[in-house]
Amino acid sequence: MNSAGSFLGGAKDRLLPASIPFRFFLSASLFHVLAWTVLFFAADEVARFRGGPGLTLAAIHLATLGVLAMTAIGASYQLLPVVTRRPLARDWPARLSFWLILPGVALMTYGMAESALTSMKTGAVLLGFGLAVFAVLTADNLRRAGSFPVVSAHGWLALVSLVAFVALGVLLIWDLESGFLNNHLSLAVVHMVLASFGFMGFLVLGLSLVLIPMFVLSRSLPDKPGWAQLSLTAMALAGHSCGILLGNMPLVWIALAAGLGAAGCYLWLMRKSLNSSMRKRLGLPFILIRASWGFLFLCLLLGGAVAGGADIPNAPVLTGFILLVGWLLTFLLGVLQRIMPFLASMHAAGKSGLPPLLSELTAEGPLKVHAICHFAALAACVGGLLLNLTLLLQIGAILGLIGAIAFAVFAVNVVLKLKRPK
């Protein structure tokens, strides 16, 4: 093994072999393409979606588990040991989790698309085990964390949310067959909120405290607002879940206010980081990242409009779309296009055996195509939902698909350049 390889691959090293995070990132790129493709075929039913099997449910889970969770898990495996200053206990469980999650997502979403319960259940079980391995490995690392208590606390709450949303997801799938739940729709809403704002939200909010200052080379980020965003997010999630399940609307409103407060703390921290940035030109990734912050606020405001019964066409679906695609997908794709070349540069060798330049590992053209198509797809799909126009949703899905293919070209290009020259 070469020197850089031993650095990244040894049991004592805080950074993992490239193959571990990159397998998650590549899979996320593939599921990204599939999610937009399935959305295209689901376009005529998306606006009416209120849960239940079908192409829309499959598209949602391809995006959430296939793209968002895959990216978050790959990034967490790689970044948490660096943040906590503790290596993962073992590498192989990370690989095992991938080989459970990948077929799990594929089978479950196929089952959802085809209303095939056996596939859905089998996929859910595989996925559940894969996520359990991730949770145990991450919990072990967080338990030994030597630094960043506020980031570790976000990690712990992400894991709590993970356990809760997976348990609810399994219940919801089994309920499709036997119908033993009398509040299926309410549980589905709680499941979605715990998965997106809980699991993904805590990871995004927590890792942002480390990643954004590193990307922009900023000087200072105070801890207190980080703890405030954590507490408010936890309150919002607990309040929303109880409010929905008990049919207590005041609790839902309080939860929404807490959620807005958490988002306010987060954006205050991010703004502080950008204002003290020593790097002036932040490039394309930060156009996506900044835009995603706007979508975070927009989806919370839309959530309030839904709770208040505002007369906005297809408001629940619109809120979900802004949440998943506008905030989380935009943010993670922005981060991914920044960290993939960065991590690859630690594994690859450039010309003359020296470490390669980040610009040699990236592909600006495909990333520009992706960014343009991504925002155009968002606009078209939002328009399609507001105007109830299937054609506009289909155009949006095609634009999203072109963007996803362009992003996949970028991702494959990075991985191909990981191979060191002989």
Partner: protein, 173 residues
Amino acid sequence: MTGYTTKMSFSRRTAQLLHEDHQATIIVIESLDQLIAKARKKAPDTNDLVVQKTLKNAGGAIEEEVSKHFAFEEDELFTRLEDMGDVGIGEHLREEHRALLPLGETVATMARDARENGFTDESWTQFRNAAAELIERMFAHIQKEEMALLPALEDLLDAETDMELSTAYADKH
């Protein structure tokens, strides 16, 4: 709380000194980046005071400060990391130093020459290419050290060693 916080401050003085070096280097590199971005393909006027200052800082900081910083890391920190079994991190950062130092010396020499004789179209193109590579490599290198090396010093150095090293390093500046 001990250790590295989100405040980008360090309980180890050695880490804090290296972090301050990084900040100083970023200022120099960022101004070089601004110079290139502003001038683009047209050679800048080296009689301009801002251009003069940028070129002067680039030459001085890269040749003297960065080489001292790299030598200190390689002699005092990477060796200690290796003793603890964390061999690879030093090796990887050494590789980057090997790429950065000659590049920095080239840029410093070109900057000195330009301050005395100005840029021709050809020398500006050469300077721009070398400086752009230096800027890109330096930013990535600093990000890696800020993320993975400086926090590790919290575990690597005890208080006594930290004081010895940081005093020795500060004396060299």
